[in-house]
Amino acid sequence: MKKIVLMTTALLMVVGFSNAVMASPEEDRQIFLNFYKERFPNVPQDDYINGVYAIDPVGRENWEAIEEFPPYETAIDAGKSMWDTAFANGKTYSDCFPDGPAIMSKYPHWNKEKGSVITLPLALNACREANGEKPLKYNKGAIANIVSYIAYESRDQVTNVVIPKDDPRALEAYEMGKKFYFTKRGQLNFSCANCHLQNVGMVLRTEILGPAVGQTTHWPVYRSKWGEMGTLHRRFKGCNEQVRAKAFKPHGEEYRNLEYFLTYQSNNLPLNGPGARK
């Protein structure tokens, strides 16, 4: 009898564990949403697009004051100028992105031909290279400007990351991003989830840890700490370095998959980039 009970318990644990690991992307998203709903019952779901300011009323007051004279405006203007200026061969970004510039909600997406996740900065650089231009560096500067313009033009579009079912590699990429998110790394042995899920709302030194849902909707951002605009992958790099892990290459496979997983969790939320953060 004891053996049967033990075997049944073990079986149930295995089944439970497999289910947890093999949850579908949509189930993952619901788990995230339910987690934050339980932790912050008074925060409306749409308010998560404001990142940490959805749960930090004092920080929100400061942020709203900053938003009266947005520090990212010059980046939008510079980005518009880039969009409108022809490459040396006479073509423009519009030739690569005929639906542009409001194309933010199309990224990141799975590219079946290339067998990888394509992010917006990656697509912009591919466009440049196809037209004989040098690719832009990924963390800051011109790339942040043009993505700011595209983000601004895409405001109020809705996050819509699709994981196509006709190519199992897309789900694999998502799962790799998920694994990255939950893997502890660096000398401090922290995962993304340790800060943005397990300890969300807690204070780390002087900063409140923000929720994962809504985290991708407002990029690029002007960060006061940087004193300039920066991209989402610059922030990924900063997070990894803060836990004393060696950062990965921006728009390399690791961060592309992470962006795919993380952006999926914000599906159905409006895009509101560019933004301003401390």
């Binding site: 947890a20 899920l197 060696k246």
Partner: protein, 116 residues
């Protein structure tokens, strides 16, 4: 009785002084060992640290400062401070080993209990 008491104190004092002497000698010996590190020791320690760093990197587990510490070890070796070079290289080697173990131990995704 009184004589025995003084004798006891004397013996204790000898033991104490002797102990301190030994400890000092041992410490001197250790520091002389440190200064006796050679360029070959430093080169070997740095190579071992770099191998550990690369091994960690092969599983995406390299830590932020490991490469920097190896660089500092190389600088110390160039400056002829081989003891410092070995000490830094050993520190980097441990980081490489821990980074590798950290990633290998998480080879399979295990979701935390709070994610359910």
């Amino acid at each position: 009785m009184r004589k025995t008491k003084y004798l006891g104190i004397l013996v204790l004092a000898f033991i104490l002084v002797g102990g301190i002497g030994c400890a000092t000698a041992s410490s001197d010996k250790m520091s002389s060992m440190k200064t006796e590190m050679t360029a070959d020791d430093a080169t070997a320690a740095i190579a071992a640290a770099d191998a550990a760093r690369k091994k960690a990197g092969s599983v995406s587990g390299e830590w932020r400062d490991t490469g920097k510490i190896i660089g500092e070890a190389e600088e110390a070796a160039k400056a002829g401070d081989f003891a410092k070079a070995v000490k830094l290289a050993n520190k980097a080697k441990v980081q490489g080993e821990r980074g590798y173990e950290q990633m290998v131990s998480q080879e399979k995704l295990r979701l935390p209990s709070y994610f359910k």
